[in-house]
Amino acid sequence: MLVVRRREGESVMIGGEIEVVILEAGPNRVKLGIMAPREVLVFRKELELTREQNRAAATALNVADITGVLNGLKLSTDPPEGDHV
């Protein structure tokens, strides 16, 4: 991994067409500005992780296996969602 130290207002270039600007650098988070050609998709990594995990979750699962595993866990069932009386 390439590590670059930058300050607010400074940029890095990726290839000739993609520019990432550090707009704000706080103690816990940074605000980035990204300039890229239209055909380059820019999204948060969490979205990609969610997409991959959804695809994995959609593939065949054996319900009996899962129920078996869940029964071995101490999952709380009371009540399943909040405190409906």
Binding site: L47, T50, Q53, N54, T59, I66, L70, L73, P80, E81
Partner: protein, 154 residues
Amino acid sequence: MPECVTRYFAVMEYSEDAVIRLPNGLPGFEQEREFVLIDQPSHRPMVFFQSLRTPHLCFLALPVLSVDRAYRLAVTPDDLAVLQLDLSRQPKIGDEVMCLCFIASGEDRKMSANLLSPIVINIATRVAVQAIQTGCHYSHRHPLTAGEPEAVCS
């Protein structure tokens, strides 16, 4: 009553007011916007999140609170707007919203729950989003394994 073909339970009837609508679909399944929740007592707390459009698409899900009793939502303002909820605070699980996480089986056949991106359902309107949590450290593959020691928070 309308009927749908389900993945695990053959043909089932459902009522229109039970349909859960996801205006944005799900990441990876953007065209899937209508689901029903199948809750079978023998499988609790697990529930089945069945697509109305695609019979073979059915996610297995758990209430997040059954996986992590201390689970805290961090829904973005954009997602709160889709849910038509108060933008100034987080909704209450069980009161205003139902919150489910999908179960997946990894290549190692170990099962995990996606706590990073729960399905948040507005109980009053049945509108839902897959709300990718922000500023938290919940895993997209939270292990569901028996006999694991309790996680220690520091």
